[in-house]
Amino acid sequence: AQSVTQLDSQVPVFEEAPVELRCNYSSSVSVYLFWYVQYPNQGLQLLLKYLSGSTLVKGINGFEAEFNKSQTSFHLRKPSVHISDTAEYFCAVRSVGSGGFKTIFGAGTRLFVKA
């Protein structure tokens, strides 16, 4: 079975500062990894995903994440955040070969960007 831990429930940051949202996972098999973003009063939207290949994955809105197999982490980063990045971010995992219905979501990290 897989599990996902998002290490911070809330991350306040000033506009134009860099940010890192941390995600660790647990699995006995190979996994696919995802980051979703949820803007206020909206559904989730896929930011980026790691399936295979390069461990540095670039997504939409200037976000990127790095898969670190030895540390079982998939941290999300952005070098300079905007007010519009204020949202909740979810890390998710599923084992290779399983169906999409096996995706496990973390509890979420609320990013609050201050002017």
Partner: protein, 113 residues
């Protein structure tokens, strides 16, 4: 192309009442899912469907039923609502050829008194 839509957006029920949440997608996706989102717990899968006429239980199916009579619609029913079912419910769909990109609806906020 509306994507994934959910009806209603808000609902308040009394304990013991029943209701049905409707999810519709116009992307011809094979797979559809119902999740609930609770504070500090992320999303948990209630039921899912891999095609018209098929449904299966997810992580937290108790107290819910589903039906997929048409490919584009996925209904979630609560036969006898309980306060523990107060939550935000999200529907999602994926294409069979790209199961890793889930498209989510805007959610339904349900309060059970």
């Amino acid at each position: 192309n509306a994507g994934v839509t959910q009806t209603p957006k808000f609902r308040v029920l009394k304990t013991g009442q029943s209701m049905t949440l409707l999810c519709a997608q116009d992307m011809n996706h094979e797979y559809m899912y119902w999740y609930r989102q609770d504070p500090g717990m992320g999303l948990r899968l209630i039921h899912y469907s891999v095609g018209e006429g098929t449904t299966a239980k997810g992580e937290v199916p108790d107290g819910y039923n589903v039906s997929r009579l048409k490919k584009q619609n996925f209904l979630l029913g609560l036969e006898s609502a309980a306060p523990s079912q107060t939550s935000v419910y999200f529907c999602a769909s994926t294409d069979a050829g790209d199961p890793d990109t889930q498209y989510f609806g805007p959610g339904t906020r349900l309060t059970v008194l």
